[in-house]
């Protein structure tokens, strides 16, 4: 770039007209500002967007057979499905199974095929153990010699089907469905069908917590909005202090309060309401209490900011026109708080659906939400396909609700900032 283009020269003698110079300067500045975003964009892309993308991709990934038996699958593509595939397919399978022998790949293949058709695990393992075939034996005779089942075209059909690069198995599994032998989608048997229950439970717990937060948060926000500022600020500090306190601190405190020898049970027994301590921990009650405690500020803050903007004049006008105080509250004030109610409820609901730590520490096995199962399939029952499918379901629900939240309420999620 020449020095001349760096400074604007309005003299008509300039070859480049001023308008173009200005536009070029604007463009350069715009590029400079875009360059400021670049480092963060790269950082978030690499350490957040790509990992989540690759996790979601695992929910439809089907690499076991596809990656380990590529040549066999290619040859099976040309096979009509009538009778047995030709010798070349047998040769390829014998070679590829032989190559996988003794590596983790063979267990992957066996497990994956067994899922399609029970019994195939033993067929694969047994065949792999007997490989490679003796020099000069035709592969077809050799494999059938190891196990008669290789004579069955259905087996080859199964390999072909299991070899597709993607599968709906995990995503269907997340809603208690599976693919039957014929390819149609069927319900899982009752003892395996747990995820719809978990989804319903997550939804139900989120609804209950949201409603409870609204019922407690509305009067609190209302009083704060109507009190003189000095008092309102004191109340606000009482709301913000727990909000800023570590979630683990609060969980520990709730254990102290709710345990069998805890304050609540002592109080109830002293009042004579109960003779034996009531179980409040490691069940749904404890989880609800702690969750409402954690999420209440998320409801109060948006409610308060909406109520703060409602002029008291409307209520006074209604009353002066003869509307009784309670109806004017109900007919005038309450409808005006609707944006706050919607924002607070959606926010609480969204955060609620992703809860993991609180139910894990305060709930029993029947109180765990979907996040728990995502963690479980990642850590304990290493089944990343299932973890990915459940993540996809949770993420989809969260993003849809969040889109509603930003679209209709125009806010961002930082209601931490007053």
């Amino acid at each position: 770039m020449t020095a001349a283009s760096d400074t604007l020269d309005p003299s008509p003698a300039r070859a480049v007209p001023l308008k173009r110079q200005l536009r070029r300067a604007e463009r350069r500045k715009n590029l400079l500002f875009m360059a400021l975003i670049l480092p963060l964009a790269v950082f978030v892309l690499a350490s957040f967007v790509l990992p989540i993308g690759s996790l979601l991709q695992r929910s439809i990934a089907n690499p076991e057979v596809h990656d380990n038996l590529p040549e066999t699958l290619e040859l099976l593509d040309d096979w009509s499905g009538e009778g047995l595939p030709d010798e070349a397919a047998f040769v390829a399978l014998a070679r590829e199974l032989g190559a996988a022998r003794g590596t983790p790949a063979i267990a992957d293949i066996a497990k994956r095929l067994n899922r399609e058709q029970p019994g195939l695990r033993s067929l694969v393992m047994r065949s792999a153990r007997a490989l490679p075939l003796a020099e000069g034996t035709p592969a077809q005779d050799g494999l059938i010699g190891i196990d008669e089942r290789w004579r069955d075209p259905v087996i080859w059909e199964t390999i072909k089907r299991a070899g597709s690069p993607t599968t709906g198995f995990y995503l269907l599994g997340a809603i208690d469905r599976t693919i039957a032998d014929g390819g149609e989608i069927v319900k899982l048997p009752k003892e395996e069908a747990i995820y719809l229950d978990v989804l319903v439970r997550t939804f139900e717990m989120s609804v209950i917590v949201t409603v409870a937060c609204l019922l407690l948060g509305f009067p609190l926000a209302y009083l704060m909005a109507t009190l003189p500022v000095r008092h309102a600020n004191t109340l606000m500090i009482l709301v913000l202090l727990p909000f800023w306190t570590s979630v683990l601190v609060r969980v520990a405190a709730w254990i102290v309060i709710l345990q069998n020898e805890g304050l609540v049970n002592k109080l109830l027994m002293w009042l004579g309401a109960t003779d034996a301590p009531i179980r409040l921990l490691f069940n749904r009650t404890g989880v609800y209490i702690a969750m409402v405690h954690i999420l209440l500020p998320f409801m109060v803050l948006p409610l308060y900011s909406v109520m703060k903007g409602i002029s008291p004049v409307y209520m006074r006008a209604a009353v002066s026109l003869g509307c009784p105080p309670f109806s004017s509250f109900w007919k005038i004030y309450f409808p005006l708080t609707m944006p706050g109610i919607a924002a607070g409820s959606l926010l609480v609901f969204i955060v609620c659906m992703g809860f993991y730590i609180t139910p894990a520490l305060l709930g029993g096995p029947g109180d765990q939400m979907i996040s728990y199962f995502i963690a479980f399939y990642t850590n304990q029952a290493v089944n990343w396909g299932m973890a990915a499918a459940l993540s996809a379901v949770l993420l989809a629900a969260t993003l849809v609700l969040y889109a509603l939240y930003t679209r209709y309420l125009g806010g961002n999620a930082v209601n931490k900032i007053r």
């Binding site: 957040f48 727990p242 683990l248 601190v249 254990i255 930082v414």
Partner: protein, 275 residues
């Protein structure tokens, strides 16, 4: 104010509302009120009634190797993560406010999304992607992860501060001969500093309280304070937990006060009269 001529129904409304709100506020602060005294318990049970006063649990926290390590780890991970989030987030926020390009809204949404995506999904995704890169069980991986989670707070607070920022000041500086770097440090940064600092505080608080991503990414050597509390609550809950909790409550009170001061200063600077 309750008028002297208020009807019984109005009195009921007035006192009923205050009673209900009082109970709600009690519910909100009860955990904090309950846990602080227990940290001074002489007994080794985390329950009332207390048998006597002692500082033994603070001594235990300060001298036990596992708590020491947790404090050190938190003091390594959170400041670095905060610094990274503050630097990248502030630059990007300035860029997002000033630049014009297609897809800006989408890019903003993506940069904010770590705040929205359920944290378990973030944890699992990072665990699976970081493991082959050797970033699990390392401070680097943990710092990167915590920085990602803190970035949205910095972006939103700095963007909000920039809304009230007069960009003519930047133009004035340039016209007086300051180069862009000098302008940034002498004009822009002092103006947006409250936003940067409160964003940083949010990022710090997020990282300092983060347990789910840490559960997945950290090995025992990198266990942070919340991670150590998590296993403490799970395995053997003792007044040591209450001692750590009290320290953390003190810290969050401090952060809340700083934030409140910043907010007031910001309002004063912008000429918003205290209502």
């Amino acid at each position: 104010m309750l008028q002297p001529y208020a009807s019984p129904a109005e009195r009921l409304w007035y006192y009923g509302l205050r009673g209900l709100v009082g109970l709600t506020l009690l519910f909100l602060v009860l955990p904090i009120l309950v846990i602080i005294p227990l940290s001074f318990n002489a007994d080794s049970f985390l329950m009332y009634p207390m048998t006597g006063w002692s500082l033994r649990w603070y001594e235990e926290v300060i001298t036990s190797p596992s708590w020491q390590r947790a404090i050190t780890n938190s003091m390594i991970v959170s400041p670095f993560a905060t610094l990274l989030a503050m630097i990248l987030g502030t630059l990007a926020a300035i860029g997002l406010v000033r630049a014009n390009f297609r897809g800006k809204a989408l890019l903003t949404a993506i940069l904010i999304s770590p705040m929205v995506v359920p944290v378990v999904i973030v944890a699992v995704a990072m665990y699976i992607s970081f493991a082959p890169l050797g970033l699990t069980g390392s401070y680097t991986g943990l710092i990167l992860a915590h920085a990602v989670l803190g970035v949205p707070f910095v972006i939103t607070t700095v963007t909000a501060t920039l809304q009230g920022f007069d960009f003519n000041l930047v133009r004035a500086a340039s016209s007086l001969g300051a180069n862009p770097v000098t302008t940034f440090f002498k004009v822009t940064l002092p103006q947006v500093a409250p936003g940067v600092i409160s964003g940083g505080l949010f990022a710090f608080a997020t990282s300092f309280d983060e347990v789910v991503v840490t559960l997945f990414l950290a090995s025992p050597e990198q266990a942070t304070l919340p991670r150590q509390m998590f296993s403490g609550i799970r395995e053997n809950i003792s007044p040591a937990i209450a001692a750590v909790a009290t320290i953390l409550i003190l810290l969050s009170t401090l952060m809340l006060m700083t934030l409140e001061t910043l907010r007031r200063r910001n309002e004063r600077l912008r000429g918003v009269k205290p209502a």
